[in-house]
Symmetry: C2
Subunit: 75 residues, 2 copies
């Protein structure tokens, strides 16, 4: 909904979705559903994969995968 709202204001042509871990598949769902069902002139501009070090309960860190999906609206 937030992605649709941002684009519907008409002032923004680019939105980047960022997600970590299990939420990565949700971010892909958001990109795909927005593009297919709601905003037809939207395309995936680029996708970046990465890794972040997150603090764990033992005072150490664990590696978590990340995704950044940039959506661009053409006018």
């Amino acid at each position: 909904m937030a992605v649709i709202t941002i684009f519907s204001r008409g002032e923004t042509k680019e939105v980047t979705l960022k997600a970590r871990g299990q939420a990565i598949s949700t971010a892909v769902d958001v990109a795909e559903i927005t593009r297919r069902k709601f905003i037809k002139n939207l395309r995936v501009e680029h996708v970046n994969l990465g890794t972040e070090e997150m603090p764990n309960q033992e005072g150490g860190t664990r590696s978590v995968s990340t995704i950044e999906i940039t959506l661009t609206k053409s006018f």
Copy 2:
């Protein structure tokens, strides 16, 4: 392991990981862990997002997000 095995034979320079739904985050983990921990000269060549129609139990279909991650080894 399969990705590491394929690249370790030395004959292949490109592998594409494909995943659907919740497995998308696992595919990103595989790409990131392989690249960071095992094969240093590996890079994410491109990432494609998509949607597949899967048959459901009621005889209809449901949309499932997909990802394709192409990894390339430079020599």
